[in-house]
């Protein structure tokens, strides 16, 4: 399985390659788009202007293309907003064509209408169906295979059995189905699902899902609150820089199963995160993959990964929670 890491700036490319990343994904939003649409109708799911989460400017894309040429680690560009407006489709198609001229050929897309538009326009590129698209099932993939999906990115909340079944279904189609399958494995385990998250993500306000809330009754005193499970905080879990692998979401224990069900790429989210931490994430994921290669059983793998990466325990925020 290959490591697909988020890239917030071209300055990080070589550092992440040296840490073990096999490929990258990043956003490019031209100035003209920002000027017209700001963060009201963003071009991708990093819906902010005030944080370095996009590859800024076409001149930077050109440098990135040269880096890809030299180091051989491809970069996929994200155009994965959940929807666009009618006037935007031709504009996006033009941006994609321009990116293709610069040497980028693979695009992460979530809006079905954009896929239809690109097909209607005859724009032939490598499409990665975003993990923000919708619920994933075999029949859903039948619908999207008509739109030439090359890689399916599973959303964050899947079981191994469901992923295995979808991958089998696609492989049975041969060239008519998706060829590659990507799963989330580190960071940003959102409490809600990307495809169904319609609230604002912007500079000026936090996420709606993080607004303070309380667990309450439908009617007064209809049910006594259950005791909240005490979650263990142990500062030894963190290194001297305050880093804990998978602090905001982790699927490292699941690599054995992900490989077994046919996952080909592992998504490491973190555009805009602290660069040192991203580098450590990549190194830890690489270590986990090495351990996986040398483990005969799932139990052996998990025992080793816990000893090596989580000697004092993990965050407990599991992408693939064991029953």
């Amino acid at each position: 399985m290959k490591i697909t890491a988020g890239l917030g700036s071209i300055d990080e490319y070589v550092r992440y390659v040296e840490a073990g990343a096999d490929e990258f994904f990043c956003g490019y939003v031209p100035y003209e788009w920002n000027r017209k649409y700001g963060t009201v109708l963003p071009l991708n799911r990093r819906e902010v202007l005030g944080v370095n989460v996009q590859i800024g400017a076409e001149s930077e894309l050109k440098i990135l293309a040269a880096l890809v040429k030299k180091y051989g680690k491809p970069v996929h560009l994200t155009f994965n907003s959940l929807y666009y407006t009618p006037e935007q489709y031709p504009e996006i198609a033009d941006i994609i064509c321009r990116c293709m001229e610069l040497g980028f050929s693979s695009f992460i897309i979530a809006d079905p209408a954009l896929l239809i538009y690109l097909k209607n326009r005859g724009i032939s590129c490598e499409i990665h169906l975003s993990g923000e698209t919708a619920e994933v099932n075999s029949r859903m993939m039948d619908a999207f295979d008509r739109l030439n999906v090359y890689r399916l990115i599973f959303h964050r909340k899947n079981s191994f059995a469901d992923m295995e079944s979808v991958i089998r279904h696609e492989r049975e189609k041969g060239s008519g189905g998706a060829c590659e399958f990507e799963a989330f494995v580190l960071n940003e385990l959102c409490q809600f699902s990307g495809a169904f998250c319609n609230s604002l993500h912007c500079d000026e306000m936090g996420y709606l899902c993080r607004v303070p809330y309380r667990i309450g009754e439908i009617k007064e005193n209809s049910l006594r609150n259950k005791e909240k499970e005490e979650l263990e905080y142990d500062e030894r879990k963190y290194d001297s820089d305050g880093y804990l692998c998978g602090e905001t979401g982790c699927g490292l224990c699941a690599l054995y199963q992900l490989q077994r069900v046919g996952i080909t790429h592992l998504k490491l989210v973190g555009r805009g995160n602290y660069v040192d931490f991203m580098e450590k994430d990549i190194r830890n994921l690489k270590t986990a993959l090495d351990i996986l290669e040398n483990s005969g059983t799932e139990e052996e793998y998990i025992e080793k990964i816990k000893r090596k990466v989580f000697p004092y325990g993990c965050s407990g925020l599991c992408y693939y929670r064991k029953k």
């Binding site: 902010v48 202007l49 005030g50 001149s59 538009y117 029949r139 000026e204």
Partner: protein, 458 residues
């Protein structure tokens, strides 16, 4: 190339805040100072005739705040620079040699914009690092962060607050009510529909609203957001039969389909198609899953697909009033594109679109359109957040619920009163207050190309 002169500026201010052009070439300002800026390129550029630097005007603290101001904020001030000095050097730090240019500018407008942006960016970074989300929003938008501390005691009190004093208009547009959970399925089956509606308005503390609305002519059965709240097959057919006897139209609402559900759903669709065939009728299915659209393709005729709310994407948020930028851009979504609706009609036979009233004006296409009132969904998780809290003690400790005991029958997530939102089952919903008192304003709905109002008081 001349020797290196220093700018002593701020490095790597995001491109969204300061963009640039060297003649026609879009460039990334890698360092910004009052006396100039830097950028880099992979190929050497020769002579530049003119630079254009674009400074973002948003993210202002404490200079608030009318809606019109907010709307106008997210533009850029563009400064053209024809007179400058430029140094170039080659650097290797990125892993390949790149040309780094320092541009020295002596122009008052540029200096003013650069200084102002650097200060604003500095304030923004401090807010991000030092403040809670609410405080940041308060500083930037006037959001009332202190009100985030005010909660209702329970959901019943919250509903009384929302519905008890509302007045509705009159009209004859088609009215429907959503039965979206076991409690409502059972209650509907246990009494005449008109009695059920009386109970429904009362239990939701919306008696006054109920007095002013006619008895609905259609029920929606099923839950768009949680696959576990769909009725058991036996109950579903009982509801269909009772609705038939009461001369009620029915739309069945299906949620997302997990892979393991496909087989059982296919069987159910076959049985529903057979049910329709015997009665020489058809049933609408509000679809919230692309796989479901595929399944229905083979059963068109008896089962008529409508595009459900989970597939009909749009930005929705109870804090929309504080959003900066041209919020008029929210008017349309992908379904306003003719090519998209044509595809949906030709490929899947979509004949109706389900929309939600979400607190701002929407432009609906020339189609059959239903509007769901007065709540709109903002977030949904297939791994139920309420289940996670009740079972594992924390909302982030999630898993796919199996044998769910139905925590949502007793519990909700309460949110600060001023936001008028609630966490119900696996989703967050917010209230569109204007849709409470405007629920049956037929002229207004008709004007907006809506021909059906679907009520769900959660």
């Amino acid at each position: 190339m001349s020797g290196k002169r220093e700018l002593h500026g701020v490095s790597m201010i995001p491109f969204g805040l300061v963009a640039g052009f060297a003649d026609g070439q879009e460039i990334r300002v890698t360092e910004l100072a009052e006396s100039g800026f830097c950028f880099r390129t992979v190929d050497e550029i020769g002579k530049v005739g003119k630079f254009r630097v674009c400074f973002y005007d948003g993210l202002r603290c404490g200079e608030m705040i009318g809606a019109e101001d907010r709307k106008n904020e997210t533009t850029y001030t563009e400064v053209e620079i024809g007179s400058f000095e430029m140094d170039a050097r080659v650097e290797d730090g990125l892993g390949i040699p790149v040309y780094v240019y320092s541009v020295f500018v002596d122009q008052e407008k540029y200096r003013e914009c650069a200084r102002e942006l650097i200060l604003r960016y500095d304030k923004f970074v401090r807010l991000k690092l030092e403040c809670e989300d609410g405080e940041l929003a308060e500083a930037l938008t006037g959001y009332p962060a202190e009100k985030d501390e005010w909660f209702a005691e329970d959901f019943e009190e919250q509903k009384a607050d929302w519905f008890s004093e509302r007045k509705a208009g009159n009209g004859d547009i088609e009215l429907a009510v959503e039965l979206d959970r076991p409690e409502l399925y059972e209650r509907y089956l246990s009494m005449k529909f008109c009695d059920f509606m009386g109970w429904y308005w009362n239990v939701n503390r919306a008696e006054k609203l109920g007095e002013q609305l006619p008895i609905p002519g259609r029920i929606y059965v099923g839950n768009a957001f949680c696959h576990l709240l769909f009725p058991e097959k036996k109950i579903l057919f009982k509801i269909l039969e009772k609705a038939e006897s009461e001369d009620l139209e029915v739309t069945i609402t299906s949620s997302y389909l997990r892979e393991f559900m496909l087989e059982s759903v296919e069987k159910l669709l076959d049985e529903l198609a057979e049910w329709c065939k015997i009665r020489k009728t058809s049933l609408e299915i509000a679809v919230n899953d692309w796989g479901m659209l595929e399944l229905l393709k083979d059963r068109n005729g008896f089962l008529v697909p409508c595009m459900g709310t989970l597939l009909n994407k749009r930005k929705k948020d109870p804090r929309m009033g504080y959003k900066q930028g041209d919020t008029g851009l929210f008017l349309e979504n992908s379904l306003n594109a003719d090519f998209y609706r044509e595809y949906l009609r030709d490929m899947f036979g979509i004949q109706r679109y389900e929309w939600e009233s979400c607190g701002y004006r929407q432009e609906f296409p020339e189609e059959k359109n239903s509007i769901h009132v007065p709540f709109y969904q903002t977030n949904t998780s297939q791994y139920c957040t309420l289940y996670a809290v009740c079972k594992n003690g924390e909302r982030g400790r999630q898993e796919l619920p199996e044998d769910c005991p139905g925590y949502c029958g007793e519990k909700v997530f309460l949110y600060p009163k001023h936001l008028k939102m609630v966490g119900r089952y696996n989703s967050l919903f917010a209230l569109d207050e204007s849709a409470v008192f405007g629920m049956m304003n037929m002229d207004s709905w008709k004007e907006q190309k809506i021909d059906r109002v679907v009520v769900n008081l959660l």
